[in-house]
């Protein structure tokens, strides 16, 4: 179960990507990278793990992608709340 966040007046910190902690990317010289040196996402390869605060069923929780191994996951990004999806 995801841990529940204790939210007071302080704003919880944003998400953290476990990938960015890694010093630099392994892989051959041909490996394509984005401008920030992050490897390009490719189908058939592992989804970068991350932990992020979330609102779920009336609670604030911390969510880790790899906690959902064993299930299908749809990860959906969108520009902003109060817009469409």
């Amino acid at each position: 179960m995801p841990e529940e966040l204790k939210v007071g007046c302080a704003r919880p910190v944003g998400a953290s990507s476990d990938e960015e902690k890694k010093p630099v990317i392994t892989g051959g010289p041909e490996e394509k990278k984005t401008e920030k040196g992050v490897p390009m996402i490719k189908v058939g390869q592992k989804a970068p793990d991350f932990t992020a605060p979330a609102y779920h069923n009336g609670k604030f929780i911390n969510m880790k992608l790899s906690d959902h191994l064993g299930k299908w996951v749809v990860l959906c990004f969108y520009p902003g709340d109060f817009t469409f999806v």
Binding site: V38, I41, K42, V43, K46, P48, H56, L69, D81, F82
Partner: protein
């Protein structure tokens, strides 16, 4: 997931989304302040300071099976996402022995890739099957 805080997520869910979907959003609404996760996934727009419309299908092994990225003005087709998940699940359950041709939906014919199928797809798959 968006760059909005979890507090704004709560306001959006409680004040608007719960009026569209009974009980509100059933899945976690994640916050990615600063776009760190979006950057790793290649969909964060640094100029605008927002995530673009990226959608990733991740299988039970944590492998990305598919993704789609749109610029903000155009919304997505959720039915197509669900169709793709059903197709990936079918292929996975078949342990890779079946493939789903264009326009496949659950219950429709699949293909069995192998030497016998080479050059013979036209015999079993017709263009009309895309839409039927």
């Amino acid at each position: 997931m968006s760059v909005d805080s979890i507090f704004v997520h709560k306001m959006w869910n409680d004040n608007e989304l719960s009026k569209m979907v009974k009980g509100g959003v059933p899945f976690p609404m994640l916050s990615d302040a600063g776009g760190k996760v979006g950057t790793v996934y290649g969909i964060y727009d640094e100029v605008g300071g927002v995530e673009t419309r990226g959608r990733f299908i991740i299988d039970p092994d944590g492998i990305i099976q598919g993704y789609e990225v749109l610029t903000p003005p155009v919304g997505r087709n959720v039915k197509e996402t669900i169709r793709q998940i059903q197709a990936f699940q079918h292929v996975r359950n078949s342990k890779g022995t079946e493939a789903t041709p264009s326009g496949w939906r659950p219950g429709k014919m699949t293909l069995k890739p192998g030497p016998d199928l080479v050059g013979k797809v036209w015999e079993v798959w017709k263009i009309e099957m895309e839409d039927d």
